[in-house]
């Protein structure tokens, strides 16, 4: 317990690092995932802009990367990370890997949620002379907003989890804090402090997500 008190400032720095990584990943991976998900949805056979080559390529890429366990994924994309952001280690490299992994997962979630919009509603919009992009913007996305919010909430919770794993291979944040000061120094209280804060994060995220989704769905 005393040890935890001494580590107070490290603890809060780690907490902020976790928040920073999660927020930036959500921003980058969330946007890229949304885009990929929309491309999948729009280009699938029989959809508004059906385009078999584009759909197949995106689909195969996502299917290839998605099943890779995250901890291996981080190592595997290190060269790419060096190429794109100039470094293969540290928090920014981690954010790069996280964003990439998250965008593939989010793409699927977005695609699946957009597919729940009833074809009849889309047909109605088409019958009024609306074009594909207008239908996407003014019908499909608003109609799927509730489930999309829940999908993103799910991803956000998973991201907190993934950042903690990243602590094991050199990233900062609460995962790393628990590992370095708790696990390796045999201080369960320190580990549990990190765990508790992560649980609190997750609870807040889930609560806000549920609340937002309810508000969108008016239920």
């Amino acid at each position: 317990m005393d040890r935890l008190f001494e580590l107070q400032s490290e603890f809060w720095v780690a907490a902020v690092e976790t928040l920073y990584m999660v927020a930036l990943t959500l921003l980058i991976g969330g946007a890229a995932g949304l885009l990929l998900g929309i491309v999948l949805y729009m280009t699938r056979p029989g959809s508004l802009l059906s385009n078999a080559p584009v759909f197949t390529i995106v689909n195969v890429i996502i299917n290839f990367f998605r099943p890779i366990p995250f901890i291996i994924f981080i190592a595997a994309v290190q060269p790419l990370s060096r190429l794109v952001i100039g470094t293969g280690i540290g928090n920014n490299a981690l954010i790069f890997a996280l964003s990439l992994a998250a965008s593939f997962a989010i793409a699927r979630i977005v695609e699946q949620n957009l597919l729940t919009v009833s074809p009849g509603v889309i047909e109605a919009a088409r019958s009024m002379g609306a074009g594909p992009l207008r239908i996407l913007r003014t019908v499909v996305l608003p109609e799927a907003l509730g489930p999309l919010v829940l999908g993103y909430t799910f991803v956000l919770v998973a991201l907190v989890d993934m950042t903690a794993v990243a602590g094991f291979i050199g990233g900062g944040g609460l995962g790393n804090f628990a590992l370095v000061y708790g696990y390796r120094q045999f201080e369960p209280a320190v580990t549990w402090a990190a765990v508790l804060l992560i649980v609190v994060f997750v609870q807040i995220v889930q609560f806000v997500g549920n609340w937002l989704a309810r508000k969108v769905l008016r239920r």
């Binding site: 009833s118 009849g120 509603v121 047909e123 109605a124 919009a125 088409r126 019958s127 009024m128 002379g129 609306a130 074009g131 207008r134 003014t138 019908v139 608003p142 109609e143 907003l145 969108v216 008016r218």
Partner: protein, 342 residues
């Protein structure tokens, strides 16, 4: 000039599995819809009714044939041109297909926004339509807060927003109870009468046709097997499939089972005579029978009213010498349709 003219139109869908034959949903159909018509299209499930209307606003491209809407050939148009055509055609659906994330007001405003109307125009038109369908107090409600009948009224308002000349109704009342069905049909009648909107009504229920259609086409396996003014088709259906549909609403034609009972109960020869207004009167027929000395008994029958014109079927048991009965049947057959049924 016809508002909608289909000439030799065929629509095939690819086979559901690679080895099977393609599905012929519409098979060489010719159809003309005149301005002001309420044109009913009836047929069993899978007959191709939905496909047919979806060809008219080009939600599906035709495989072959020509489709003219308002004098313009649409089968050769680009997608962009077709969007313009669709703005001039309203459509309502069995499942209403309202935007659940938008209020009633926003639903009705949607097609106007697509058409590029100004804010003021949208507001004025939406208010007008809400009044017309009697939902002014529901403007801020969401679709899931409305009853089925109210949802369909929003659907109708939305379909009429851009003042189309043509309205397509695909099973618009099939999800509604009988009373609400009548309300919605009355509203469609007003749309036709007050705004002069031509309506194509798809249904598998003959009473929908009976209550609002002026013309009817009967579809079976992708073909139009019979079409014409509702009165003609109802009073004298030619095709067996049409006859079955007509029998679901027209009173007076005994079913085979009822005929069997009639035959058991009555001796003599049983004939059904069919009248249409304008034909010889019933009185004249009865007079002929009396004059021939043939005894007759009315055993089954009914008189129907389609759009103010009457027709009926009366089944009589005739008793008398064979020669006299034959002679009198021949005489009345000159005036009305006579079918010997037993």
């Amino acid at each position: 000039m016809a508002l909608v003219a289909l000439r030799n139109v065929t629509k095939t869908y690819p086979a559901p599995d690679r080895t099977g034959a393609p599905v012929v949903a519409i098979d060489q159909v010719d159809l003309e819809v005149e301005p002001g018509d309420v044109y009913g299209i009836i047929g069993y499930s899978g007959a191709g009714k939905s496909t047919l209307v979806r060809l008219v606003n080009a939600l599906e491209p035709a495989t072959s044939g020509s489709i003219e809407v308002d004098g313009r050939e649409i089968t050769t148009m680009s997608e962009r041109e077709l969007r313009g055509i669709r703005l001039g055609i309203g459509m309502i659906f069995q499942q209403f297909n309202l935007f659940n994330s938008k209020t009633v007001w926003q639903n009705i405003a949607y097609p106007l926004t697509v058409a590029g109307a100004s804010r003021a125009e949208v507001a004025a038109r939406v208010a007008e339509l809400l009044d017309f369908v009697g939902l002014a107090d529901k403007a801020r409600n969401f679709p899931d807060q409305l009853s089925g009948g109210q949802k369909q009224r929003v659907g109708i308002a939305r379909a009429l927003a851009t003042s189309p000349r043509l309205l397509l109704a695909d099973e618009a009342t099939s999800a509604l109870d009988p009373e609400t069905t009548q309300e919605v049909l009355e509203l469609l009648k007003r749309v036709n009468r007050e705004f002069g909107v031509t309506i194509i009504v798809i249904t598998h229920e003959m009473d929908v046709i009976q209550s609002i259609a002026t013309k009817v086409a009967v579809m079976d396996a992708g073909r139009v097997i019979e079409h014409g003014p509702v009165f003609d088709v109802f009073s004298n259906p030619q095709n067996p499939s049409s006859q079955r549909f007509v029998a679901t609403v027209v009173k007076g034609i005994p079913s085979p089972a009822e005929l069997a009972v009639l035959r058991e109960r009555h001796d003599g020869r049983i004939v059904t005579i069919s009248f249409r207004d304008g034909d010889a009167s019933q009185a004249a027929v009865f007079l002929e029978l009396a004059r021939a000395g043939v005894e007759f008994e009315l055993v089954y029958g009914g008189i129907n009213d389609i759009q103010g014109r009457a027709f009926g079927h009366l089944t009589l048991a005739l008793r008398g010498p064979d020669a006299a009965v034959d002679a009198v049947i021949a005489t009345i057959a000159e005036r009305v349709d006579v079918t010997e049924v037993g």
